[in-house]
Subunit: 358 residues, 2 copies
């Protein structure tokens, strides 16, 4: 039986992924040098496709890492001197703040309960803060952070850098990059690829900050310091042998998304969310975990279940519909459903049909 | 035209790589969770196959990273307090020492000229040294480091940890792991896979050292600190979503190598080296860059060319034989030829035939 993975990541592969892999094998992508002209060309193409799809301006450069976990660590090493401020509303935003503490950098946490996002609160952020970290889409709870509040913090703290975790929302959000210094994701979510590549959309200020810290004689890491990475990246090169195959395949998948158009991807995302909403609203079994609509993510949808979540997961799996369980303590009575570009409208219709039968 | 990549890495893919990829797609390896039982099972299988193939004892655990570059950084962060000692005889051993300096840890370098390895010198290593780093196979020059000297340093510095870069020699070397605390490689060399996974064969003492540094209140990094990684690894788990597909495929390729047997792989490696040696010795065009046989690597073979290396590279490429250029300043009159398990005896016969025609 063919399975459809609605898990929040790793998730369903993009429909064209396998055919691009075959093409990659024919072009010897697994064997070529990352210093070759051929490599530089498709690295450039991947970068250009991403910039085009997500409306990324000239001020921002694309840096490749191995995972979002790595990006968390590198952001702290390269951008923090006096204080990292973390908005925490779930397991992943919390993990980022832990990483800051494990690296032994000054860390302030502002926490709200699971299922909620943040609004602008004046005077919340200490003057010592030089990095503010938001999670645009908290994958563990299905909360989307309204962007206006993020921008308001940036406007009121222009000297601080601000980053946005778009791990489980990219490529959906339309961002104002003049107010976002860094946004990052990993490819096993919205890009519909296997895990092993993290992508940082890095504003020039991230690199400038890294340079300034380095110039004060402090370490900002080694092979993945933003200064050297930036110099390589603008020439479509990396510091070390990267995940070449994944960079190639990302470019191809992005190319397909461009053919579809980001407008259509966004429209379909909302349509699929609507299909699910209709079922949930009608069902005595289900309700949304995120009560406030403004905080309800369209890309990772968390649903509370009347009976044990495991029963629903099992019944869905029997029909090849692989849905995620709730995260951590939310596991007993929650299911999580990813709504990524790899999921078609008909995939969601099939899922909705089965859900409506409970 | 089918190409054969004799480049030192990325290199020729293992002959069964693509069919294992197809199997991976059928098993949804790109979509499954790294917390699933299914994942744990093939992670375990990969670890067990590697341990079996390379004769790795119970004292050592397998930790997964994204590259050898990352492993360099992590070794320093997790294992150095008072001094890292680097034996440098080429670009890669030198890069490791640079990484130590970029991380701002105390670093001592003992350098010899390119094309040579190291012998044991009493009283060379300062008493403050807590990590000694050898490159078993310096990919930039084709030098193999005789293991007896490495062991002798360990015997004389039992309190220091000793690591071995086997990036371009694995799985060839037969190591005495009672005298090696860490050995590491990346999969795009001898494993015949695309880049994107680094593997550290970690002795328990690496983890103990990390723990001891952490207990003194110093940072040893975050998501890839050896303490937490070890706890996960013994349960066939990773800290973050890893390169799941690559861990799966490595296990499959290792399984095929096990069927062939490490003895046969070593025998073939030496036979292919012999085939090339015969051509070089007879040819007026070629001579070995590494003059002392004891330092001449069987897995990355560097050959000095009478005329410009570019001419030979071009002529070979015209027949689909992709050979590496010399590294850095050695480029004008050198070619580098990888001799990995993915290269068959008949590949080397074909290469030798063409070389003998010059």
């Amino acid at each position: 039986m063919n399975k459809i993975f609605f898990t929040a990541g790793p998730s369903q592969l993009y429909p064209t992924y396998q055919s691009h892999f075959q093409q990659a094998m024919e072009e010897n992508i697994g064997s070529i040098s990352h210093r070759s002209t051929f490599y530089k060309e498709f690295h450039q193409s991947t970068v250009e496709n991403l910039k085009l799809l997500m409306g990324i301006p000239e001020t921002h450069t694309i840096l490749f890492f191995s995972s979002a976990n790595e990006i968390w660590e590198r952001l702290i090493q390269n951008c923090v001197e006096t204080g990292s401020f973390h908005f925490v509303n779930g397991a992943f935003s919390n993990r980022f703040s832990q990483i800051t503490q494990e690296l032994m950098y000054p860390c302030t946490i502002h926490e709200t309960e699971k299922g909620k996002g943040f609004t602008y609160i004046p005077d919340l952020i200490p003057a010592t803060t030089d990095l503010i970290n938001f999670t645009h889409n908290e994958s563990s709870t299905g909360v989307i952070q309204p962007l206006e509040a993020v921008y308001e913090y940036k406007r009121n703290h222009p000297e601080a850098l601000i980053t946005l975790d778009i791990v489980s929302s990219a490529p959906f959000p339309e961002l104002d990059y003049s107010l976002i210094d860094g946004a990052y994701f990993s490819v096993q979510k919205g890009m519909g690829m296997p895990a092993g590549l993290g992508v940082l959309i890095a504003g020039e200020k991230l690199k400038d900050r890294a340079e300034s810290i380095l110039n004060k004689g402090k370490s900002i890491g080694s092979y993945h310091r933003f200064t050297d990475m930036w110099t390589k990246a603008v020439n479509y090169q990396t510091m070390e042998t990267p995940n070449i195959l994944s960079i190639y395949l990302l470019g191809k998948v992005l190319g397909d998304m461009l053919k579809k158009g980001i407008g259509e991807i966004r429209r379909e995302t909302l349509l699929k969310m609507e299909i699910l909403t209709e079922v949930v609203n009608k069902s005595p079994h289900f309700s949304f975990f995120v009560k406030e609509k403004a905080f309800r993510s369209p890309t990772v949808i968390t649903i509370e279940t009347r009976d044990e979540a495991a029963l629903y997961l099992k019944a869905l799996e029997d029909e090849g519909l692989i849905v995620g369980s709730g995260y951590g303590t939310l596991k007993p009575n929650q299911v999580r459903i990813a709504n990524f570009p790899a999921h078609s409208v008909s995939d969601f219709e099939q899922l909705a049909r089965r859900l409506s039968q409970f």
